[in-house]
Subunit: 139 residues, 2 copies
DNA sequence: TTCCTTATTGCAACTTTTTACAGTAGTATG
DNA sequence: CATACTACTGTAAAAAGTTGCAATAAGGAA
């Protein structure tokens, strides 16, 4: 739990404050080592900080994602999950069996540059989800 | 409203049935000419078929998207919208001002091929959303 | 330490989305 | 037509996510 205090400087740098609620939420995500849904975060973080409420969890996850401390991923049907922002990557999900794999950002760079010069948008290159059939499910 | 009957063969080909509920939903999407949220579809389709219920709308939108009659788009924060599946395209959304533009699939083809040979996944190349800053919001 | 500013939280009410299951109604077939 | 099969729908209830607002508490300054 104290490990989460290490995020205080990053928060402060973004104009955010460190609170026990945010400590609990960051701690949960820190130890999960993967993607968690808001509900999962809520249930687990409550164990460490029982008075935590849902609105706080949803707001915190959104705020921390906006400030790039977390990554949000859309995993289909409007489901959203979060993880600590560490390596830059994207996801491929099999919509037959659900198997998910990560891919580095590197192969995307060319496309991103093309899109940027084509549209004038400056893309933030983060955490896009693609769907398809994994090798097992293609037969 | 009767225009929606034209989708019956496509439904049938996928093992689905044409019902008055689906007629109403397809009709709404057909005349909207853009992306609608499930709630918007529900409210509008009720005008044409007042006994329509929410579970039917959510199920129908998912089913029709799965069978490729509709496209689902994740537009951030777990929000999802649907449109009739016509041209193949993707979206760029400005997360400052919300301005959304379409881009053709063509420039994605090379990347998709790379990812497929890299991962063994067969990607379905549909309707991905990217976020960034539009030209106006970059200053 | 104390004070001040304002970011953050909890509360209460609300909206949206999901679930399980029993009843209904497309549609193919004779 | 009449029948049978089963995809589809509505109901009722729960779960998940959202909103506005008043009270609280970080954390910088005095
Ligand atoms: Mn990830
Ligand atoms: Mn679209
Ligand atoms: Zn698979
Ligand atoms: Zn913009």
């Amino acid at each position: 739990m104290t490990c989460a205090i290490n995020y205080a400087p990053q928060l402060r740098a973004q104009g955010l404050r460190m609170t026990p609620q945010r400590m609990a939420i960051l701690h949960v995500l820190h130890h999960a080592g993967g993607h968690l849904s808001p509900t999962q975060v809520y249930k687990q973080a409550r164990k460490e900080f029982p008075s935590l409420t849902e609105p706080t969890v949803y707001r915190t996850l959104e705020d921390l994602a906006e400030k790039k401390l977390l990554l949000a991923a859309h995993i289909g049907n409007g489901k959203i999950v979060y993880e600590l922002a560490e390596g830059q990557h994207h996801h491929l999900i099999c919509h037959q069996c659900g198997k998910t794999i990560q891919v580095e950002h590197t192969p995307f760079k060319t496309l991103y540059r093309q899109l940027e010069s084509l549209t004038g948008y400056k893309l933030d290159s983060s955490h896009v989800t693609f769907f398809g059939l994994c090798s097992d499910c293609q037969s």
